[in-house]
Symmetry: C2
Subunit: 219 residues, 2 copies
């Protein structure tokens, strides 16, 4: 699907259409800052929404998990999925209850997941996932062996049908409410990394790597 | 559904069953710390996953939105939904790529949303939502008028069929990997509130309320 065909009827932002964003650059910036998505799939008419980590490379999203999980057992069959990534940036306090809001950036991708089965591609997808979550870690960890690769299922979802939704900035009140005597503004929110906690069984001389010390998601 | 009947086949944690938690107390603690959920619903066989705020009171979750939104247009018809809340607590770096994980707490609620239409109950649900997100704010803001209430749809989802999943603590490596020469441990993650940003049109004398200054989610 070419970009000029976006959005489709399924991905067009219905509510607050001015917040809808359909360019890949914006969507990819959001997808690259996040690393936990919520995957939706349907079993017997019932939707399930499961949080999981993901990685992006080009126009592909990769997710992984145990071949035994409910999600991966059903996705294998090529069921349609929805992958949603949400970054929360703040609470927006307006003068009126009605105009309260949140600052956020979200991306919704609709598609069909396919299994990445070829061993080299599977390993590469796992590397993409790992580097997406914490760049630099892959090369420092003990690499997957054949048994582990067999226990892991990797799925690719093409980023074809998608939309993003973005709200930034201060509250927008009705003009007549600006004189209402209450504080209004934004409480910024950010996912922040704390001090790394070394495992109890680390050798005393083991230094904390730079990619752990300087870990942050905002680019 | 009584608690002793939990989990159902649909909510039993399949992957890593030792991380499954089915008591209401744990689930409610997670639901009360979070305030953004991902709602899954199905239209024409396609799952959609939409982020939205929520509130909890007793055994009910409340979500709201414009009556015009895709989600609320379809939910009104009583379609089955899945509401998932995820709190991210850290990256877990193991010696092996395979044993990398995340610390998190999540709750999945399966149910049917019903419209809260009776004016008093609707207003009370909106108060619950507001107080869930930022306690203390409701009484300080300009209350909803009739026009605003009409534009807002409120849905109740009973917390009957649910499960939680929790991972805490250090990495768990295979015994033979503990000698692998790499750093291992946890990078804690937390959603933190920054300095409140007052709206440009605030009166100079307007003080920042205590519930804004001291805003935090962890209990």
């Amino acid at each position: 699907m070419s970009q000029s065909e976006m959005p489709t009827a399924r991905t067009r932002v219905v509510r607050e259409p001015h917040r809808g964003v359909y360019d890949r650059e914006t969507a990819y910036r959001i997808l690259d800052e996040g690393f936990v998505c919520h995957v939706g799939f349907v079993v017997d008419g019932q939707p399930y929404v499961i949080p999981t980590s993901y990685g992006r490379s080009g126009d592909s999203l990769y997710i992984h998990g145990s071949a035994a999980s409910r999600m991966l057992r059903h996705m294998r069959e090529g069921l349609p999925v929805c992958i949603t990534v949400t970054l929360l940036d703040g609470l927006v306090l307006a003068r009126s209850v009605f105009n309260h809001s949140m600052n956020y950036r979200s991306v919704v991708v609709l598609g069909k997941a396919t299994l990445v089965d070829e061993p080299k591609k599977k390993l590469e997808a796992l590397r993409i996932l790992s580097e997406h979550i914490i760049p630099g870690r892959w090369a420092d960890a003990r690499q997957p062996n054949e048994r582990e690769l067999k226990q892991t299922a990797v799925l690719r979802v093409p980023i074809e049908e998608f939309s993003a939704k973005v709200r930034t900035g201060p509250p927008i009140d009705d003009e007549e409410d600006y004189s209402f005597p209450t504080w209004a503004g934004v409480v910024p929110l950010e996912l922040k990394a704390g001090e790394p906690i070394g495992d109890d069984r680390l050798a005393a001389a083991m230094e904390v790597p730079q990619y752990v010390i300087s870990y942050r998601r905002t680019v």
